[in-house]
Amino acid sequence: MPLDKNLESIYIRAANLIYDLNFRRRISEEEKVFLLNLLERTIYKKDESKQLEILKRWMAGYNNSELDQIIKATLLAADWSEEESAAFNTQVIVDLLEAREDMEDEADKSGGEEFE
């Protein structure tokens, strides 16, 4: 089915932006492919809510920690077009996000105690 004209326009602009960022070396080749694939699946398959949800969750607490780097590497290396691989890697990232959130909680607690 052809896309709605507005959506088509957003889709093309987003693709060009990703392509342009790669050309200007602001993002790597792997990051470009990941983002283009994500865009394609989000627009055409509309079944990426789980993946988008973990991406938002990741970005919300992103502080370039070691765990963030591991999550990013997992995101880029996974095959998201294959259902089984996507489900497995989603779970891996959810576990990593939980570990990061636990660490943040621990840090908050220990920080709070120091002040008391």
């Binding site: 052809p2 088509e8 283009l36």
Partner: protein, 453 residues
Amino acid sequence: MNTVLWEGLEKDLLFDLESERRVLSSMMHSEEACIEGYSTLSAADFYSPKHGTIFELICSLFDREIRPTYVELLKEGHSLGIFTNPRDLEEIKYIAEHYIDDENVKYWISRVKDKSRLRKYESFLRTRYQRLNEEMDREAEQILMEAEEELTNLTALEIDDRIDTPEDMSRLGYEEVERRFIRYKEIQEIHKGVLPLDGLPTGFDNLNHITLGYKQGDLIILGAQTGHGKTAFALHTAKEVAVNSQHNVLYLNTEMSRQQIALRWGAMLSAIDHDRIRSGNISETELSIIFNSYSRLRQSGFYSYPCPNLTPEKTISIARKFRVQKKIDLMIIDYIGRMDKIDPRLQEWQMLEQIVKTQKMLAQNLNIAVMCLVQLNPDGTLQGAKRMKNEADLLLKLAPIPREEMDENEDLKNYINPNYYVIVEKNRDGRSGIRLPITFDLQKQTMKDAERK
């Protein structure tokens, strides 16, 4: 004066970038347009080299069953080193953004094709004009004859058409004789006198022997009365070709559901009664046998397309797609009497005639075998039989052997349980008017040559 004339021509007549963009955009947005463009055009038909490149990228993705979206085109172009600079994207971006309407693609394709032919004509005029200046000593007759031949090719023939020269025809003839000579030797030495097939196996040794298989470009028509095994015959053929011989088959069914087709396969492959499979009245051991049987189907080349609203136009589009993407060798249409009419004013026989003509053309153009199933009248005759017979390369009928014939025909008594005939009514490449006794197990949905005692 001349220069002005040429320049005027180029502007008004020789290309139409708007049509080229519309075709490419349609191909990016609609599968139907993609099939049409892929089958009708080549990169050389586009005036703009960029458009030709985009067309090739779309075709390359379509070949691999990847939807040619904007992002996929970017990735493909980048991986092939075509898009190395954001500026390279300007044309494709323009097309994707400005032309998302995919209606009337056939019209736009014909515009692109017409311009392509006019450019060839213009090139012909230029070349001839140049040669006239360069070869002033040549005889007028010779110059005109050469020009006429070239012009005939431009005006009368499509790109895919060709004229066989005497040289072509003699080479083809020799190659055919040589191939048959080698095959004859193989029959004598390797196959111990058994003819190897020229085409796809039919699933019956006797029919294989008479027809040498279903060949590329053949239209096979199989007629049977209602409830006399048309679908069983079609699936028996599919099993032989797709499961046993590992060729790819497209099966179009106009009246059965996906579940019904899948269950029939269970019976055919496991040799367990179809009724018991349908009702679920099977043992655990049989369930396990059926499960294992389906693994043969899983590894086969059988592609099923249940399509209650099938039209001749749609068969063309589906067949083209599956030929490109799945490399099918055989398409089976079960059955053509259920196909929708394009024009409601057509009589039944006119519609059937139109359908078989389309299927014959399809078989030849795609170089595949096409099997059409048709319904026989209650008296065993075929509606529009004469016309169908004209188009068919092989016309078969499937009919139960009448009880009185079983009692009276001495030859049938030499067989174990013959209950049906496959009747060869027409066979373009061999003998016809032959009745082959077979055994059709209705419950297991299996067919085989009737065994001699």
